[in-house]
């Protein structure tokens, strides 16, 4: 048992920390929010220089071969700085998907990984559909065989990084197959229409319509009709990453709130002298620390070869962290009072990001049910 970061991990954490201090102040971030793209290519390149894009890609595929704990370290910093650049959507998630779906097909893996690792090609995973909610296997977008290839028709929604991705990895179902397949589709392909929008937390996303999009057989990522395991794996990786991001954001929000309780005066004394508020702040701290423990659990469980054990651990973590996101976010706002519900203070920005994390790739209830299913099946 060991809870320490390696020297490399500490160095990684520090370099992102420096980037945040130097180039990612609250004012810098506002500028990015107000830009047309809603994220900054310059920041992206800076993060690529630190090695973030290459981190989750295997060395054999041109990456740095980082592990899940490295991703955790990065995501915690991203949460701390409320980074808008689509690292989760365009790096962590597609890297896991490519690794799991392409598997031993080296040529395909390497060709897709190259642009991802350099930060030059942005990928996004187009999976969520209207009416699907969080059910991962419920894919309706049709991939109809035609000649050597397929024709894709259907709609994807709330695609993280879908606004800016160069290449989309699309889940689709070939009629008659029981499981989904994955297709690699250039975002500029004929028949692909994107409706990009800002999310509630100022990150960007898109709905993407596929109208008779023709792709070749080589667009298939992995085997046809056998993508569910890869989809589950990649979404579990994303959930673990979200847990770590939440811990970074919560820790910062907790700190900001305590500072405010110390400085804000009412009735001639600091707010923090009131026991009702003190105890609320302690409860927030407990949620943060329990979340930190479960983010660790998620990180070390994500590569467990036993998929059922992995699912249980990830869903346990995402349940607890989603609940904590709500509790810490809501109470940070409450303890701030009126100023907490304004746009001008970063408190509300943390609150919004934490809220989005709590409903991304399964909310607390969905993951609690998934954990409960594991109990039922063990019975």
């Amino acid at each position: 048992m060991n809870f320490s970061l390696t020297e490399e991990q500490t160095a990684l954490k520090d370099s992102i920390g420096k980037f945040l201090e130097r180039d990612y102040t609250f004012d810098d971030r506002w500028k990015v929010i107000r830009s047309p793209e809603g994220w900054s290519r310059e920041h992206w390149n800076q993060l690529a220089e630190i090695g973030l894009m290459a981190l989750p890609v295997a060395e054999a595929d041109g990456g740095l071969g980082g592990g899940v704990v490295d991703t955790m370290v990065v995501m915690e910093q991203i949460g701390k700085g409320l980074v808008l650049e689509p690292y989760l959507g365009c790096v962590v998630l597609p890297a896991a998907l490519i690794k799991a779906a392409a598997g031993t097909e080296e040529a395909q893996r390497t060709s897709l990984s190259e642009g991802l690792a350099s930060g030059e090609t942005l990928y996004a995973f187009a999976h969520t559909e209207p009416g699907q909610r969080y059910e991962r296997a419920s894919v309706a977008l049709a991939a109809t065989p035609q000649g050597d290839g397929y024709v894709l028709s259907g709609k994807k929604i709330s695609v993280l990084g879908g606004d800016c991705a160069d290449v989309l990895i699309v889940s689709a179902k070939v009629p008659g197959d029981t499981e989904a397949s994955l297709f690699v589709v250039p975002a500029t392909a004929a028949g692909v229409t994107r409706h990009a929008y800002p999310m509630q937390d100022a990150q960007r996303g898109a709905d993407i319509q596929f109208s008779n999009v023709t792709v070749g057989a080589d667009a298939l990522l992995g085997a046809r009709g056998k993508a569910q395991a890869a989809i589950d794996y990649a979404l579990d990786v994303a959930c673990a990453a979200l847990c770590a991001e939440a811990v970074g954001a919560m820790t910062e929000l907790q700190k900001i709130t305590i500072e405010y309780l110390k400085t804000r005066k009412q009735f001639g004394r600091a707010l923090g002298t009131n026991q009702a508020l003190q105890h609320r702040a302690v409860d927030m701290l407990m949620h943060v620390e329990m979340s930190r423990s479960m983010a660790l659990e998620a990180a070390v469980s994500v590569d467990n070869p036993d998929a059922a054990a992995r699912a249980k651990a990830i869903s346990g973590a995402k349940t607890l962290v989603s609940q904590a996101c709500r509790f810490v976010g809501q109470n940070a706002v409450q303890l701030h009072g009126g100023i907490g519900v304004t746009h001008e203070l970063n408190t509300s920005h943390y609150f919004k990001r934490l809220t989005m994390i709590s409903v991304t790739f399964g909310d607390g209830d969905w993951h609690l049910a998934r954990y409960g299913d594991a109990l039922l099946h063990a019975a």
């Binding site: 048992m1 923090g272 620390e289 423990s293 609690l368 109990l375 039922l376």
Partner: protein, 398 residues
């Protein structure tokens, strides 16, 4: 970063498991697993078995006859023995007064008391709380007046857990009323056989005799039974409380209860279907398991910090609050699983069988009693609200 046990730790885990299987009295294990009341001898038979093996001084340094185990080994020991149904080692001697004697006692006190604590020859109980001093412990009034080579102790202690079995009591007494109230407290070791001591049972809401009142009426205590300096007892008292921090979460016991609850939920039927298929119950069970896992990892983080001699972080202070809350949820869930079987008040008959015949499922026999009994966990050891005050001051700095 790795949450798994190392190969050495796995070997240790196996060794503890095997030892427990061979040395834990099956009848005692049955009583623990079924939640029966334990007699003095039930605790002591396990204590003596461990002592023979040299495993009773968990957390003690080797020089005093301790196991010398690191924090992770202690956790493994706790988890494995709890899972097998071993009774909890009574903490008052081993985990509470012993560290105080080791750190602040003199050589004579160490030589006399520590071996008898290790062997189980002397059973200790705790004289802290008083009727007027609960959370506000430093306001205690039990008085010790110096007369020659003795203190004359007068007053009352309360909530004395298992004091009916005790041979010795460690007591916080007032030796001065000058200055701050914390500065007039001394720490005395008192033989329970001393004339003038009366132990009276307090029957708790589950109708069990677990705690007592202890009365002191002109009790003569030799001055050499004072630990450390006169009027410095508060320092030792606080040391004792903080020393106990990691044990109080009760993670090992909670894991055992969860396991039992899982089994119960598979067996208990409603309309012919097991309870685990009821989504509302399943959600509650899943939630408490998740919370317990988070607590366990938090505990491991604290133990790891202690191993590396880093200052325990804020997480250490959270263990008591979270641990007691989870224990309470587990007893509540067990009572809910019992359904209508939660209603009868069951006594053990002379033959060990319950006097309500249809309540044959041992898992439910004491479910409600335990639910009532476990309300204590958020009150004792410094109530959870006091813990929040401590965290407010020491961690948040408010």
């Amino acid at each position: 970063m790795d949450l798994r046990y190392s190969p050495e730790q796995q070997i240790f885990e196996k060794e503890v498991r095997e030892f427990t299987r061979e040395n834990l009295d099956p009848n005692v294990a049955r009583k623990v697993l079924e939640g029966c009341r334990l007699e003095r001898e039930d605790f002591l038979s396990w204590h003596r078995a461990l002592h023979k093996k040299g495993w009773v001084g968990v957390g003690w340094p080797k020089e005093f006859g301790g196991t010398g185990w690191d924090a992770t080994q202690q956790h493994i020991f706790d988890e494995v023995t709890a899972d097998a149904g071993a009774p909890q080692l009574i903490p008052f001697g081993l985990r509470m007064v012993a560290p105080v004697i080791m750190n602040f006692g003199n050589k004579a006190q160490q030589d006399y008391h520590l071996p008898k604590i290790l062997s189980g020859e002397n059973w200790w109980c705790q004289g802290y709380s008083e009727p007027g001093s609960g959370s506000d412990l430093a306001s205690l009034k039990c008085k010790a007046e110096r007369v020659g080579d003795h203190y004359i102790v007068n007053g009352q202690k309360t909530w004395t857990t298992l004091g009916q079995h005790a041979d010795w009591i460690f007591c916080l007494v007032r030796t001065s009323s000058d200055g701050r109230q914390q500065e007039g407290i001394s720490f005395l070791l008192i033989d329970m056989k001393t004339p003038g001591i009366t132990v009276r049972p307090i029957i708790m809401l589950d109708q069990e005799h677990e705690v007592n009142e202890v009365w002191f009426d002109d009790v003569k205590v030799p001055v050499e039974n004072r630990v450390g300096e006169e009027n410095k007892g508060w320092t030792y008292a606080k040391f004792l409380l903080s020393h106990e921090r990691t044990g109080i979460a009760g993670v090992g016991r909670c894991k055992r209860i969860v396991k039992r609850l899982q089994n119960v939920a598979k067996k208990a039927l409603a309309n012919g279907k097991p309870l685990i298929e009821d989504v509302r119950f399943r959600d509650r069970l899943a939630q408490v398991e998740i919370d317990l896992r988070a607590l366990e990892i938090t505990l491991l983080r604290v133990l790891d910090a202690e191993r590396e001699k880093r200052q325990p972080g804020p997480e250490a202070s959270l263990l008591k609050i979270k641990g007691s809350e989870i224990q309470q949820v587990l007893t509540e869930l067990t009572m809910m699983a019992a359904g209508p079987a939660a209603l009868p008040y069951v006594r053990e008959g002379d033959n060990g069988a319950p006097d309500v015949e249809w309540l044959s499922d041992e898992a439910f026999r004491y479910a409600t009693g335990h639910y009532f009994n476990f309300r204590k966990t958020s009150i004792y050891g410094g109530s959870n609200e006091i813990q929040r005050n401590i965290i407010t001051q020491l961690v948040l700095g408010l």
